[in-house]
Subunit: 418 residues, 2 copies
């Protein structure tokens, strides 16, 4: 079979399996996820053995220690992956929920009901736990999934997939429910992205270049997240103690995440009091500060921020700062440089707070809280399959509900259109 035939075959099986999964009870889906969780533990040794090959390759390629750390699986980490699956069991089944029910004057009974999306393709990089996480989330939402991981973790992914697949087969699930593209040939991705008659949604997870290339080539709808350039705006009426705690948390607590703050906007009337305090604390935490001309005047040891800095997702201990003359200027800055991810205002002024929440067009807007809360678990949605900075279908953290859509069931007793 050619690569193209091979992937088409996978997609056709997935589509068939999606019909099976869509009609399944919560109980049967949960049983299968439990079996998957157990199978991960039972196959720990095989997974660790496979993972060692990936680590060896990463060392040969002289990848960073952070990269190798993310890649590495221990029996403890496999235990965590297994527990993450058990957590999915506890989540409410998003399928078959009545969203709306009404009756038309002609007696038709209308029911808008949640259903699975169908077949979901996940294209991801490095972290092997994505393999089991995404498999369980898609399955719980009644979707078949086609996984395509990066070549860096191919051995780990195959071992994890084998463990999961064994469990599903034991439960009597058809082959296509969860598939892994086992080749590292990049052509496989292009083929996958062309199968719009068989795959309903693509979710890319990884760096911006991966995501851009998926969007560029896909004939299938994509839900994506390019980057998180998150702002915190310290209003004229901010409680500056609160502002300090929140800004520090948003930058420093985990700077490598997409919901970390990249730019601090400060109203001119509080800048002289606030900036020296926060900069001192940030510098103590080894944060490099790049500020506007006025920031530089107020605080020592600040580099000049360029326009490029304001447009950059540092994902690191670097912060851009800008002093603004008004909230309108802060809003305009966010329009120009923001990424529609997460932005916060710190203020005790209610109208200003409401105005910010209303006018900032981001998936998550915060009043007096850290942007670091943009996360499925922190929102109480349970595990998340990704974060969307798109405007269609889903915004912000995507949980199980975002892996479903709806259909209309219409029940009559002979109605015809006049």
């Amino acid at each position: 079979m050619s690569l193209k035939q091979d992937i088409l075959h996978t997609a056709v099986l997935a589509q068939k399996a999606a019909r099976f999964l869509g009609a399944l009870s919560s109980e049967k889906k949960n049983k299968a996820i439990k079996a998957m969780a157990d199978s991960l533990l039972n196959n720990s040794q095989a997974i660790i053995k496979a993972n060692k090959k990936d680590i060896k390759f990463a060392n040969e390629q002289k990848r960073s220690s952070a990269f190798i750390d993310r890649l590495t699986l221990s029996s403890q980490r496999i235990k965590k992956m297994s527990n993450d699956l058990l957590a999915v069991i506890a989540l409410e089944d998003p399928v078959g929920k009545v969203i709306k029910i009404w009756r038309r004057p002609n007696g038709l009974n209308m029911c808008k009901i949640s259903v699975p999306l169908g077949v979901i393709g996940i294209i991801y990089e490095s972290r092997p736990n994505v393999t089991s996480d995404c498999a369980a989330l898609c399955l719980k939402a009644g979707n078949a999934v086609i996984l395509r991981g990066g070549k860096e973790s191919i051995h780990s992914n195959i071992a994890i997939y084998k463990a999961i697949f064994k469990a599903l087969t034991k439960c009597g699930f058809p082959e296509g429910c969860i598939s892994l593209i086992c080749t590292t040939d990049r052509a496989a991705v292009s083929i996958m992205l062309s199968l719009s008659d068989h795959i309903d949604l693509i979710i890319p997870r990884g760096g911006e270049s991966l995501i851009r290339s998926v969007v560029e080539n896909s004939k299938i709808p994509v839900i994506k997240h390019y980057k998180g350039i998150c702002h915190t705006y310290i209003d004229k009426y901010a409680d500056l103690n609160m502002a300090e705690e929140i800004a520090f948390n948003a930058k420093v607590q985990r700077p490598s995440t997409c919901n970390a703050m990249e730019c601090l906007l400060v109203h001119k009337s509080v800048a002289a009091e606030f900036l020296p305090r926060i900069v001192k604390r940030l510098k103590k935490a080894k944060v490099e500060i790049r500020g506007c001309q006025n920031t530089i005047k107020l605080v020592k040891g600040v580099k000049k921020a360029t326009n490029k800095d304001y447009a950059t997702e540092f994902l690191d201990l670097i912060l851009a700062i800008k002093i603004v003359n008004s909230m309108a200027e802060a809003l305009a800055h966010i329009v120009k440089y923001g990424s529609k991810h997460s932005d916060a205002i710190i203020t005790d002024n209610f109208p200003n707070g409401m105005k910010f929440l209303k006018l900032v067009d981001s998936a998550c807007v915060y009043l007096n809280a850290s942007t670091r809360f943009t996360d499925g678990n922190e929102f109480g949605l349970g595990a998340e399959i990704g974060v969307s900075t798109d405007k269609l279908h889903a915004r912000g953290p995507m949980g199980l509900e975002e892996l479903t859509i709806y259909k209309y069931m219409v029940m009559g007793n002979g109605q015809i259109r006049k």
Copy 2:
């Protein structure tokens, strides 16, 4: 300005206007729509005059009388367009609705709230009333809209647009709220479809070839509707009188619509009784019948249906018929040939009815009713901007609600992530 700069400029203004519209009260939006409706009436003569140019061109091109009829505007039809706008005023504002509200253990107040999508591009053919309809629906949902009509109705579209634009300007609305691409240069569409940083959604309305070309070229998410190959399945346990009325209605009442029945599936155990009756009645209504081998055996004057017939949206007085041995065979036929639009079962057997509603993966599934009800007005959603056979964001008739998305507003009192 080059065409590219020109359209980019339009899109940038639209994006700016979207921010204005997104923050507007229902009252102000309704006032503007009222002004648009009035302006259509006040500019009736200019619109009819422009329309005459389009009709002249259509006659020169020897277009069909049905085509010219759809294109023609009379003062009565303009009155109807104006009334359709007034109906939009009466619809509930879909923006600012609280979808869900909850509180996290750390005290964060979470609010999922409906917001406009942003900028919507509509690419459409012939019918000039689409210009005013889409403009009003997008505006009511707080979106800016960029309209690109077909060259066949370009003069009518420009005249309608001018009338609307005048009204909006009087109301103090910025230029970009509603735009019309006035050139008929096809390159304009490709440019529009490339502006993914400025346009949030494309809705193509027209024939399948228009829609396929839009999907093929768009870098912007598209919600579309290729075709409606709608089935009615007459179950073994159908009330055959009801079945006859519904099948006749679904085929004959308005065969040119996407929700009309194209294929009738009949369980073998009722075929001998049902088919002669319905075929006789359909033939009287000048419906051409193309049936399977077994249908031909049962009824005289039936042509042989090919596989291509089963895959065709006739949009005409033609019907494909197939006798099936079981409901499973009917379901398999719909999987193979259906278009995920609208499909119906006629049965008095409750489990069979529920099974069909659950297993058929179409936007609208019917029990004992005509597929012709798939329509925004018939569903009670108010006017519709289109019908989606996609799986993402919206399925079936798309009303105002489907022109919105949500964002999360998170209100705290100093929460930071641990």
